[in-house]
């Protein structure tokens, strides 16, 4: 297993086929069966709709690389989206709203990291617990109602363009660049590889794996905060169930993208292609008028197939 990890890490090109083929097949399929799929308007729609998922899937990649998981991300995104809506509504300031979302998201991220690192509770249970907490807090702060009437400054973020490119796409590209730089060109990035691959080595090098883990989960929470702003802007309101289940799409994107759940090696470009695969799948099914329930089910099948193939690869 370790050898497989080393080989694929030294030559990521070997892994391109998997997720790239999935994406190419999906695009080919829907350009044939879904009228209007290949139009510029629709393709740019796919990209804009994938931005929120990108912001969750990138930090999810880091978390999964540490042999962890964050099931709370969708619920935390829902909560931060509500915080953005409530604070920006009260203060008329987009930045204060974003600040509130970031604060709450990071707090949840640190709580997740603390639970996983310090108490040793398995990540999927710790974050299942915080999922319940975030979901409960969302219901409590919103009283189960939508928060409407948010200021234009928030709403405009989703529709504005920068040099002709929609702002959400710019934000997603900047995020990708930041994560790429962080993972592949900083010491912290190397430590993240070590967190999943060889935690003992970190300890011998005099580093604290626990603090690093907390930092990784905190990044996930902070990104959920930023994605919360986009979600509020996109829906033009805060809604207590807005982001529930989004963590699943994020996990799907990471799994399809070839990051392994057990070997501590991740691939950010693969995650990005995975996000696009999920986006194309949902958009295409939508175009041929299949209900969102079928989209959810098909993403589930996608994950199971991806994990099955991952299992085959690790055994080969």
């Amino acid at each position: 297993m370790r050898e497989a990890a080393v080989v694929s890490q030294s030559n990521p090109l070997q892994r391109i086929p998997g997720v790239a083929i999935v994406l190419a097949l999906l695009i080919a399929l829907f350009s044939v069966i879904a009228p209007g799929f290949l139009s510029v308007a629709n393709l740019s729609n796919v990209l804009v709709q994938s931005t929120i998922l990108t912001m969750l899937a990138l930090p999810m990649t880091l978390i999964i690389m540490t042999e962890g998981l964050d099931l709370s991300m969708g619920a935390v995104l829902t909560l931060t989206s509500l915080c953005v809506a409530i604070v920006s509504l009260a203060t008329k300031s987009m930045l204060l709203g974003l600040g509130a979302g970031l604060l709450v998201g990071t707090a949840f991220g640190i709580a997740n990291g603390w639970l996983v690192a310090m108490s040793g509770i398995p990540p999927f249970v710790a974050t299942l617990g915080t999922l319940g907490m975030a979901q409960g807090l969302s219901l409590i702060v919103s009283d189960g109602q939508s928060v409407v009437g948010i200021p234009h400054s928030v709403r405009d973020i989703y529709s504005a363009t920068l040099l002709g490119i929609p702002v959400p796409i710019v934000m997603a590209l900047v995020t990708y660049a930041a994560f790429h730089g962080l993972l592949y060109h900083t010491r912290f990035g190397t430590y993240i590889f070590a967190l999943g691959g060889n935690r003992e080595a970190l300890r011998y090098a005099g580093l604290s794996p626990n603090r690093l883990l907390i930092a990784v989960y905190a990044i996930g929470g902070a990104m959920a905060g930023i994605a919360g702003l986009l979600m509020t802007a996109r829906m033009n309101s805060g809604h207590p169930t807005a982001g529930l289940g989004l963590e699943f799409d994020a996990i799907a994107a990471v799994a399809v993208g070839g990051t392994s759940f057990e070997r501590g090696n991740g691939w950010l470009l693969g995650t990005l292609l995975g996000v696009l695969s999920v986006g194309v799948l949902r958009n295409g099914l939508n175009l041929i008028s299949l209900p969102s329930s079928v989209q959810v089910a098909s993403v589930g099948v996608l994950v199971i197939v991806a994990l099955f193939l991952d299992g085959l690869r690790s055994r080969a």
């Binding site: 998981l69 209900p291 993403v299």
Partner: protein
């Protein structure tokens, strides 16, 4: 590790076994919660409320008892809630179409069991980690159920069928009798049969279990299938009690079931725990939620409190385990 294995391999015959002590503490906690609630609320000790708590706890217990076996093997089944929803909707449709409750009950159980079997196949044959396989299954089932129901609600079932969930026998709700039956079967199966003991052994040390000739994959398949079938049973009780089925009925069931298992002292790391403990766990959770209800705390607080309880339960479990080793 050796302590756990030893505990797991020997049925608790002495009253002072580790399991018995753990269950005793939890019974004390449940009594303490009862005492506090009796002081805080006048209506807590009314017969109606106590029967209500028992009935509510039995619903959580049905799902949690099957889940206990899965957790004993160091696995997890996150799809139980979604499984309840799908099974209830399919069983409801069959009853409407054929007019036969018996046929509906059978389909509900079969649907739940089949989903469980698929989970087991993913975990054993495809070697996908259980929490992620059943999490994928959760969304597949959710999607299927919403697609199948297309926003409709099934409503109105035969009076005889409704008795299962809402009827009484000698003054006690019928689900409470079912609870006693399955508590007995579950405890006997886990503690007194070879298969049950093999399940403990698999959770305590899968490699040792395989080397001692236990058919690990077959036992795991069984455990996931049982968990699914119990979800199917819960779906029947739900259907009969609510007298209606909707696609979203399962969404708030998984977390409480996991909470009941963990409060009951079953370790997430496998090999330690009892079905009776899970019953006490379901009782404690129901008492807390019932108490919040009686003290007119909004239902919006329930996921928050359940989430906190899950984390506290695992944390306490890990602390006591560290101390005893």
């Amino acid at each position: 590790m050796t302590d756990i294995t030893k505990d797991a391999m020997m049925p608790p015959r002495s009253f002072l076994s580790q399991d018995a002590i753990q269950v005793f503490y939890r019974l004390l906690a449940a009594l303490l919660i009862c005492a506090v609630l009796a002081v805080l609320s006048d209506s807590f000790l009314s017969l109606g409320n106590i029967l209500n708590v028992l009935r509510q706890a039995s619903l959580t217990f049905f799902i949690a008892s099957g889940l206990t076996l899965v957790v004993l093997t160091a696995g997890l089944d996150l799809s139980v809630g979604a499984n309840v929803a799908l099974s209830a909707c399919i069983a409801g449709t069959v009853i409407h179409k054929t007019g036969s409750p018996a046929l509906g009950i059978l389909t509900g159980l079969a649907c739940g069991g089949l989903v469980g079997l698929l989970n087991g196949i993913m975990v054993t044959a495809l070697r996908i980690p259980s929490f992620i396989a059943t999490y994928g299954m959760l969304w597949v089932l959710n999607g299927l159920t919403y697609w199948y129901m297309a926003g409709e609600t099934l409503h109105g079932f035969p009076a005889g069928f409704r008795q299962i969930g809402s009827g009484y026998l000698f003054g006690l709700p019928i689900p409470v009798y079912l609870l006693l039956v399955f508590l007995g079967i579950g405890t006997f199966f886990a503690q007194r049969t070879i298969w049950g003991q093999e399940i403990y052994a698999i959770g305590a040390n899968p490699v040792a279990a395989r080397l001692s000739g236990i058919p690990v994959a077959r036992r795991l398949l069984l455990v996931y299938a049982v968990s699914g079938t119990m979800a199917g049973l819960a779906s029947i009780i739900f259907l009969s009690r609510l007298n209606s089925a909707e696609a979203d009925i399962g969404e708030s069931l998984t977390l409480p079931a996991i909470a009941a298992v963990l409060i009951g002292g079953t370790s997430l790391f496998g090999g330690v725990g009892t079905v009776f403990g899970t019953f006490i766990g379901a009782l404690i959770l129901t008492l807390v939620l019932n108490g919040m209800n009686l003290l007119s705390v909004s239902a919006n607080w329930q996921p928050l409190v359940t989430g906190i309880i899950v984390i506290l339960a695992v944390w306490l479990d890990m602390k006591t385990r560290r101390r005893t080793q």
